[in-house]
């Protein structure tokens, strides 16, 4: 009888210790998950910010200025444009 009781007490002790550990683990993991989620949110806003930044770098104003000044481009007019029609393309491909 005493022996059985001893075993039960030990089992109970072990189980309680295990419970404590599991509870601790679950909190730790939850904290980590939360941290990861925050990081995800932070990266998301960061990506939005960078996207806006990229867009700000590619405004029509800047594109036009760069094209004109750095790349020495000019605005195309119909006088310097060859208009290709679909039927021409088809004929050219058949050749």
């Amino acid at each position: 009888m005493t022996r059985l009781n001893m075993i039960l007490v030990l089992a109970l002790l072990a189980s309680s210790l295990y419970l404590v550990r599991t509870a601790y683990d679950s909190r730790r993991l939850f904290a980590e998950l939360d941290k990861a989620k925050n990081e995800a949110a932070r990266l998301d806003t960061e990506s939005k910010r960078l996207e806006a930044e990229r867009e700000a770098q590619a405004t029509s104003l800047r594109v036009e200025r760069t094209a004109r000044e750095r790349l020495a481009m000019r605005t195309a007019t119909p006088a310097v444009t060859v208009y290709v029609h679909d039927d021409d393309v088809a004929a050219g491909a058949a050749k």
């Binding site: 904290a31 806006a52 700000a56 029509s60 007019t77 119909p78 006088a79 029609h85």
Partner: protein
């Protein structure tokens, strides 16, 4: 103490304990019963109180307990983005730091404060005042600063200064699209333009979650369900950012060139009624909050009304054709260049002789138009004008669009009917005028204009027959050609048609003699119009003031660029100027 002992010693000598009368007297039984009852009642009260607190009214202390360990975290929703028809960003929200302080915790040297003030671009005195109150627990130092600035602030290492994240609106297109997109206030509520018109859709709903935090402030457990934030919806406009930018640039240049007060451009897609561009100058930078006051905020194309002048003539002529009163070749005697109606004389700028109906438009003859209008019933004219949208509130999801003025026909006197035929005595916004011209561009149907991209072709209201619309387009082409009033509207490769307008500005009750308003409304390509462009320049003051000289060149440039960007093939023959002779590649 000594005294006490002596006294008790004396008493011990004189009192016999065994026979004390006090001990002999019997305690009455009700006293002990009362005590028991009192103690019993006391415990009952305690138990009762415990029951009420623990079981019946347990919420208060539960709540109080929860407050000690549970925290509500707000999950902020971001405001929706505004993009153009090709997905280019016109407005977006980015998360930025806002700096605040707990003034009583702040410990900083004078030098540190000075540097902080410099970083935050605040006067040092103002910053010191903010930090001076030793009892204050909170003070905003500066809201919505740039990320690198916050990093520098952090590097100063001043205690008691913190950041929170807030969303700030960014407008990549800046002032070019400012009137269209509008702006928000510091709380992220739309104040103008699309930001205001679509406030409900753009605005998100913040979410929240309850968590348990440990001693170190780490989240260790979530309580209950998380309320996810509902982010604002993205709005895709019909506007083309490139066309918008170009239109803005051109009107800005024109205002500068003619030393004008202001200018506006409206570009409509003639087939769908979509607004491709709507630009005004002077403009403002919507991201700079302190500039957001004054006349520059006015979306002149929508809010400023003026008398449409000669641009009304095509409508009168269209109705004369539609009702079978004349044909484009019917001659009309406009000599001697003036006509008198009930005592008032109406003159042409230059007297012409006999003009055909088409030439009345081409030369913009007031007398010819009046002669056509006086054959009509005033009610007919009123119906025509209101059907194409004059005096009607534009069906447009945009704040501030004005109605203009068109008086009920019953109050028109004959002279007023005459002046209204060439555009005086009624008022309209540039936007209404552009939209009214869809009746010619769309073969007789007037279609609603829209700020948003249309998926289905719009249902129009038929006002005139397709043949009539085509005949008027032909006249508009003549008006914008050599011999017309606006040869400067011509473009390379695309046929254009349109009508100029020039008017003395009205000040008080009279017309001024030296202040003008010049405008031009037209469409291209004229055979099958793809776009309608309306340009208005307010108070050109550099020698020339006619619509054909001031507004038509802007029209020409905008049409040229817009059609090229839309990939519309030219309908006129162009002498090629391609000089490179590339080696023919063989496949």
């Amino acid at each position: 103490m000594k005294l006490g002992r002596r006294q008790s010693g004396a008493a011990a000598r004189s009192v016999s304990y065994s026979s004390s009368p006090l001990l002999a007297s019997k305690t009455p039984p009700w006293r002990s019963k009362l005590l028991v009852a009192l103690v019993g009642l006391g415990s009952c009260l305690l138990i009762g109180r415990a029951v009420t607190i623990q079981i019946v009214n347990n919420d208060f202390y539960l709540e109080q307990g929860e407050k000690r360990y549970a925290h509500e975290l707000e999950l902020p929703a971001s405001r929706g983005r505004i993009t153009d028809r090709h997905g280019a960003l016109l407005a977006t929200s980015v998360s930025v730091p806002s700096v605040w302080a707990i003034p009583k915790d702040v410990q900083a040297t004078r030098e540190q404060i000075r540097q902080l003030a410099k970083l935050l671009a605040l006067p040092a005195a103002e910053l010191e005042k903010k930090l001076a109150d030793p009892n204050a627990r909170f003070a905003w130092l500066k809201r919505q600063i740039d990320e690198p600035v916050w990093q520098q602030v952090q590097a100063l290492g001043i205690k008691g200064i913190y950041q929170t994240r807030e969303y700030r609106r960014k407008y990549p297109e800046g002032e070019a699209a400012a009137h269209l997109v509008g702006f928000t206030d510091v709380e992220d509520h739309g104040q103008e333009g699309i930001e205001l018109a679509f406030q409900k859709d753009l605005q998100g709903r913040d979410g929240s979650r309850m968590v348990v935090k440990d001693r170190l402030g780490r989240v260790v457990e979530a309580i209950g369900d998380q309320v996810d934030p509902a982010h604002g919806l993205d709005i895709t406009l019909a506007v083309d950012a490139k066309v918008q930018f170009f239109a803005y640039q051109r009107v800005r240049d024109a205002v500068a060139e003619h030393k004008a007060k202001a200018g506006s451009v409206v570009v409509l897609d003639a087939q769908s009624g979509e607004v491709l561009a709507l630009a005004n100058y002077p403009s403002f930078n919507p991201a700079e909050r302190r500039n957001l006051t004054g006349a520059q905020l006015r979306n002149r194309a929508l809010t400023d009304t003026f008398e449409p002048g000669s641009t009304m003539k095509p409508f009168v002529v269209a109705w004369a054709l539609e009702s079978g009163r004349v044909t484009p070749t019917t001659p009309i005697q406009t000599a001697p260049g003036s006509i008198t109606i009930t005592g008032s004389t109406i003159r042409d700028a230059h007297p012409h002789g006999v003009l055909t109906v088409a030439e009345v438009i081409q030369k913009s003859s007031n007398v010819g138009t009046v002669k056509l209008a006086m054959q009509m019933d005033r009610r007919e004219m009123w119906e025509l004008y209101s059907q194409v949208g004059f005096g009607q509130k534009p069906q447009l999801q945009f704040p501030g669009a004005v109605t203009g003025r068109l008086r009920p026909y019953k109050s028109w006197r004959p002279i007023e009917q005459a002046t209204m035929s060439y555009g005086y005595g009624l008022s309209t916004s540039l936007f209404q005028l552009a939209r009214a011209y869809t009746v010619f561009a769309r073969d007789g149907e007037v279609i609603p204009a829209s700020m948003l991209q249309q998926t289905a072709p719009p249902t129009g209201l038929r006002v005139i027959k397709p043949e009539t619309a085509r005949a008027v387009r032909e006249m508009l082409r003549l008006a914008a050609g050599p011999g017309g009033t606006a040869p400067k509207a011509q473009t390379i490769g695309y046929s254009v048609g349109g009508k100029t307008g020039t008017a003395h500005k009205q000040e008080g009750k009279a017309y001024t003699t030296d202040k003008y308003r010049a405008w031009f409304v037209g469409m291209a390509p004229i055979e099958n119009p793809r776009i309608i462009v309306a340009v208005m320049i307010d108070e050109p003051n550099n020698g020339v003031h006619y619509g054909g000289d001031v507004a038509a060149p802007v029209f020409s440039q905008v049409v040229q660029q817009t059609l090229r960007m839309m990939g519309v093939a030219p309908d006129l023959d162009v002498r090629p100027q391609i000089v490179t002779t590339a080696v023919q590649e063989s496949f």
